[in-house]
């Protein structure tokens, strides 16, 4: 039962932070969905169902954190490219600060006991 709760907590943490990982991936360049998913999937443990990225992207677009443009692709149908908006960049920067403090605080306790 404890393991189940822990899994659920980790899943929630992953879900909550995933959008900032997506925003961070878009910080330097615009990307299309499949490319984003591939980059996220390269890091183990971040995405369990790749398909869930797309509802997230749709939500970010509606919240005005990302913008999209269609571009022709040399290898198939046109692709929808995502890029960060000003609001998206501000949200990412704010999260970076908070996350750093949070991570250090958790590490402070967890790492001390473990080590």
């Amino acid at each position: 039962m404890v393991a189940g709760k822990q899994d659920a907590l980790l899943a929630q943490m992953r879900k909550g932070t995933l959008q900032y990982c997506v925003l961070a991936l878009l910080a330097d360049e615009e990307r299309y969905g499949f490319d984003l998913v591939r980059s996220l999937a390269e890091t183990d443990g971040m995405v369990t169902s790749e398909g869930t990225i797309y509802p997230l992207l749709s939500r970010l677009r509606r919240d005005g954190l990302v913008d999209t443009t269609w571009r022709e692709s040399s290898s198939g149908p046109p692709r929808r490219y995502y890029r960060l908006t000003k609001a998206g960049r501000a949200a990412l920067d704010a999260f970076k600060g908070e996350w750093g403090r949070f991570r250090d605080a958790v590490d402070h306790f967890v790492e001390r006991k473990a080590g």
Partner: protein, 222 residues
């Protein structure tokens, strides 16, 4: 009859579309289109596409139900709750009464209103509604009409004469006749059968619908 990759993809996308039913239309479209694009991109990157490759792509995307759950959470959409067990109300009672005797009170119109209520109600399924409509159009009003205008006010069958109560269409005051009128007339016998049928059928139908009404909610909660 093997499943081709195209079939697998088609089935997956259809499944996804159904699962995303709770989302607003434009969001559902956007997500399904993007995932369809993802699959196209992934397949284009394969050198020799096999069924296993396509299955792996779809598995990587995840179960449509999981994607839909995630999407509902992202968009703060409540999943549509299954309909609560139906409690029969005035509409069902009115439908039953009007179906049976509405045609007697207000010829045809009364029964017709009953049919409308029957079809508006959620308490019966389509099969029940068809039964309620077909057996018998007009309800007892039709029986009455036939008895009064086609059959004459007294029905003679066998050795019995009955009067018909014009308000209910039921046969009343039946009296045995002396054997002066033999009961061998086949036409009379058939007529009797038809009359019984058109009187009994609406009663049976009403009883059946009432029974279904009482059964359904308990079946739904069981």
């Amino acid at each position: 009859m093997g499943t081709t990759p195209d079939k697998l993809v088609e089935r997956y996308l259809k499944h996804l579309e159904v699962e995303l039913d709770d989302l607003p239309r434009d969001r559902r479209r956007e997500i399904v289109d993007e995932i369809a694009g993802h699959i196209t991109e992934a397949r284009a990157g394969l050198e020799h596409e096999s069924e296993a490759d396509v299955r792996n792509i779809l598995e990587g995307l995840g179960d449509p139900a999981d994607i839909a759950e995630d999407a509902r959470e992202r968009f703060e959409v409540q999943p549509t709750a299954p309909a609560p067990p139906y409690k029969p109300g005035w509409m069902e009672v009115a439908a039953l009464v009007l179906l049976l005797i509405g045609g007697v009170v207000l010829p045809f119109v009364g029964w017709f209103v009953g049919v409308i209520l029957l079809w508006l109600s959620n308490a019966w399924n389509v099969r029940d509604k068809v039964i309620g409509t077909v057996f018998v159009p007009g309800g007892l009003g039709l029986s009455l009409f036939l008895l009064v205008f086609v059959g004459s006010t007294s029905v003679s069958h066998g050795g019995t004469v009955c009067e018909v109560d014009p308000s209910t269409g039921r046969e009343i005051n039946c009296t045995e006749l002396p054997s002066s009128e033999p009961s061998t007339d086949v036409a009379d016998f058939l007529k009797f059968g038809v009359f019984v049928a058109i009187v009994v059928a609406p009663l049976v139908t009403t009883a059946y619908l009432a029974y279904r009404l009482r059964r359904q909610p308990s079946a739904a909660t069981a």
